[in-house]
Symmetry: C2
Amino acid sequence: MAYRKTPAEIRRLEAAREHLVVCATEVVADVGWAQASVTAVADAAGIAAGSVYQHFSSKSALAVEVFRRAAQREVDVLGDVLEGEGDPADRLRRGVEVFARRALENHGLAYALLAAPAEPAVGAERLAFRRRYRALFAAVIDEGVAADRFPGQDAEITAAALTGAIGEVLVYPLSTSAAQDADLLVAELTAVALRCAGAAP
Amino acid sequence: MAYRKTPAEIRRLEAAREHLVVCATEVVADVGWAQASVTAVADAAGIAAGSVYQHFSSKSALAVEVFRRAAQREVDVLGDVLEGEGDPADRLRRGVEVFARRALENHGLAYALLAAPAEPAVGAERLAFRRRYRALFAAVIDEGVAADRFPGQDAEITAAALTGAIGEVLVYPLSTSAAQDADLLVAELTAVALRCAGAAP
DNA sequence: GGAACCTCTGAATGATGGTTCACTTCTTTC
DNA sequence: GAAAGAAGTGAACCATCATTCAGAGGTTCC
């Protein structure tokens, strides 16, 4: 009966874990999953490589946590807009817009979430989150179809197409003029997305 | 001067190299890049691991060759249709259709080409081929815009969106009913693609 | 047949990077 | 202050493969 974690100690440990996740996220956004070795991440957090294993059972577990946190934020933001009030077409437009702006603001993280090569565990997580994006888009499209704002269509397929289209445009370098100007890019992307769903021009 | 490769010997070596590439492609389509170790590929081709290095300077070089061959076939087929005769909207429809059918017929290879985690050299190759798909689509879209079949738009962005949309729909498992029926899936996908470009319904 | 040169083999080598662990350092409790 | 136990360290360890290489087995040409 000589040692019990005091509340302050527990908080300190939780903060250390949190700090590790945040630093790992930065490293991943900076250099991608492949380059984010345990040593690199530990260095960034100012701890020894071995100490990572105080907080996570494996590198995979840490990577999954990093992915989940970041991806969940995007799902939440997108969900707030897509499930909000108003005309489905308008919500779709605003959803694409907000998603695109966030991705452009933090391109490294967007790339890591959407496309960067990653270990299988992260790949599985990515798949799960893609399904969630798709479900959010599909719901709006179904609503729009029901309200006669969009033509009849398989909402799941359109939603998948939207997910892919948005990701591709945001993540890969374009040589077009719009690539220089974020506003223009976002405007073109929302226009494509609305056409994709069949919204009246 | 006691040894010069006889034509038959040269042919035999070329055939061996060819056979290796074909077998490697099958392995990759089957199990993905990550699992396609030099040993696995050599086993599939019925040769020793070391013999791979008779034909390729590194595993990367072999992987790049495998990717290029397969991707080039798709670019050729798509290019034939998109650059053919006729109405731009119709060519776009047929292009998406043929691309989709081929991907669905050889799903493993399509996944390997479009999305499967791969080493950096293959990733770079993939990027280059994506640009080529994009260029093909962009040309048709520009034509369609010029011919007033599509509304004004940044063709590069629409083309990127198309590439992403098509890839996403074909490569990731869908839970919708259309996923069961290839014809239905292709029909929905071409419809989305045409809407994406803004073709009149 | 045999000298010269090649292809093929597969076990040994080497690089990379996650994981472990003996040890040090810090916290708690008495 | 000292015992008990936890957190933190970082060098050693280990698994995984790509790559090499010394030897075996062919092929060419005189």
